[in-house]
């Protein structure tokens, strides 16, 4: 079952944002060494919305997401060609230190990754990092409540974060990420390692979070995209030139992408005809 792709130099119709844009990510090319992983994809992330990324494995969803807070700078061979406009600054500007970028644009990963310290310290970690001068405990509790895990952990804040179940760990990571009230939250398949019940909880959480935050969400679960995302970017893989380069196929309001896609490819994909 081969993945269908566009041939040649297809470029998606630009998505017209309906509200204010927090991150305007305009990828020309992203390389890992000599390998071109993503090309020509303009993806604006709107304020207080959830922007979903869907597409077959290897199409570069994670790559694009990680470009938005320069997480990929940690990969030696990574090279970004394009522009990521965050408010009115290009975060790939030479003068910008990626460490600063990551303080404003938080991230939640596919596998829960709490630190091996107490639950409390996990959440307080970011506050301490940012030299928060206010009431630390208050903020920690607030974040834990916000991440819908307060009831699970309130009696064992001193236990190690690693002692929790997978779903709880992931919610702890979300609490940790939102404790510092970041501007944007990037989530890369945050529920893929979780069971259905935990997944549902995380999804509900995301919907709540968008009231305060701006969220970008990669998911391989199309139902999840329809349930959570306001806007969906569908990416495909272009194998026309011997490579396997991902690119944006279509981006639009989620309902539109799933119910009335512009591209044939999108239609096939959302119907589950290839993966």
């Amino acid at each position: 079952m081969d993945t269908l792709t566009h041939q040649g130099d297809f470029i998606a119709t630009p998505y017209e944002p309906k509200g204010p844009v927090v991150i305007d990510c305009d990828v020309k090319n992203i390389y890992y060494g000599d390998f071109r992983a993503v090309r020509d994809s303009r993806i604006p992330i709107e304020k207080n919305k959830v922007t979903g990324f869907i597409g077959p494995s290897g199409c570069g969803k994670s790559t694009v997401l990680r470009s938005m807070n320069r997480m990929n700078d940690l990969v030696e061979s990574f090279r970004f060609d394009g522009k990521v406009q965050y408010h009115d600054h290009d975060i790939y500007d030479k003068k910008v230190d990626p460490v600063i970028v990551r303080r404003y644009i938080g991230m939640v990963f596919q596998l829960p990754n709490p630190f091996s310290m107490s639950i409390y310290d996990n959440v307080a970690f970011g506050l301490r990092l940012n030299n928060y001068k206010g009431d630390e405990e208050e903020m920690v509790v607030k974040a834990l409540k916000r991440a819908a895990i307060w009831n699970d952990v309130k009696d064992k804040l001193k236990n190690s974060g690693l002692s929790l179940s997978g779903g709880q760990q992931q919610r702890l990571c979300i609490a940790r990420a939102i404790a510092t009230e970041p501007d944007v939250l990037l989530m890369d398949e945050p529920a893929s390692a979780l069971d259905p019940i935990a997944t549902r909880q995380i999804e509900e959480l995301m919907v709540e979070l968008k009231e305060d935050y701006t969220v970008a969400l990669v998911t391989h679960n199309m139902q999840q995209a329809t349930r959570v995302a306001d806007v969906t970017a569908f990416m495909g893989v272009d194998i026309s030139k011997g490579g396997r380069t991902g690119y944006l196929v279509e981006m639009n309001e989620t309902r539109k992408v799933f119910e009335d896609p512009e591209q044939e490819l999108t239609k096939e994909y959302v119907r589950g005809e290839f993966s």
Binding site: R102, F109, P114, F115, L129, R176, A177
Partner: protein, 297 residues
Amino acid sequence: MSEVNEQMMPPKVVLPKLEKNLYEARAIKSFLLTAMVWGLVILASIPLFSVIYMLIVEGGARLDWEAITALPPAGFETGGGFGNAIVGTLVMVGIASAISIPVGVLAAVYLSILEPQSKLATTSRFLAKVLTGFPSILAGVFVYAILVITTKTYSAWAGGVALAVLMLPTVTLAAEEAMRQVPQRMRDAAFGMGCTRTQVIFKVILPTGMPGILTGVILAVAGAAGESAPLLFTALFSNYYMAELAEPTASLSILIYNFSGMPFENQIELAWAASLALVVMVLFFNILARIVGRSKF
């Protein structure tokens, strides 16, 4: 066996034989081989038990308060002990640790986190491995050349530095390995929070990898405590408690070496007692390392 197989090899077997036969060549060969590895293991354990037996019987007989506090006796004397050697060993291992642990852990940070693929890291890692196979006496020769000749005196310093040369690669490699064991996703999480590299290292990697690092460090310390060749002509020996670091210094291992070649009963007994003390010290570190290493993230 071949009987069975000849039946079986041609096209199809109808009624194979499945029963065990304890007398066929295969079963006998297996039995002999199994007996052999058991024999090897038991034989290999004998030296350990023999050493331990001797240490307890010969060394235990003399390991009393006097032995661990008094000064080494001359040949004709009775009594005496090796208090100064215990102090000397501890001091020199301390010096060696003070030098090699910080440098080794720093190097390990560079090798495992900062620039694991860089030329310097590859070279450094390779040379560290080479250094672990380095004859320990050459560390003594080297330090003799750079410290004893220039300062014109054998000293605890020189002994400590020689031990540090031996500890450095062990500490580095063990710490590197321990830090590598910290899951990549924890590092990602820390970087994702906007930590600088230094913050990632101090707030996440070092605390998380600490059990592993400590295990490596303690094993290196244990090794250094038992070393003798590098001290032979760097620290030399002394019959007194040390008054300063820049003078010849006693150590347990050199005392054992010296006394083992002595014709006097009293000194030989003390050599056994000192061996027991040294082995207890080394084993203490080893066991500590095991306990520390058991806690996993």
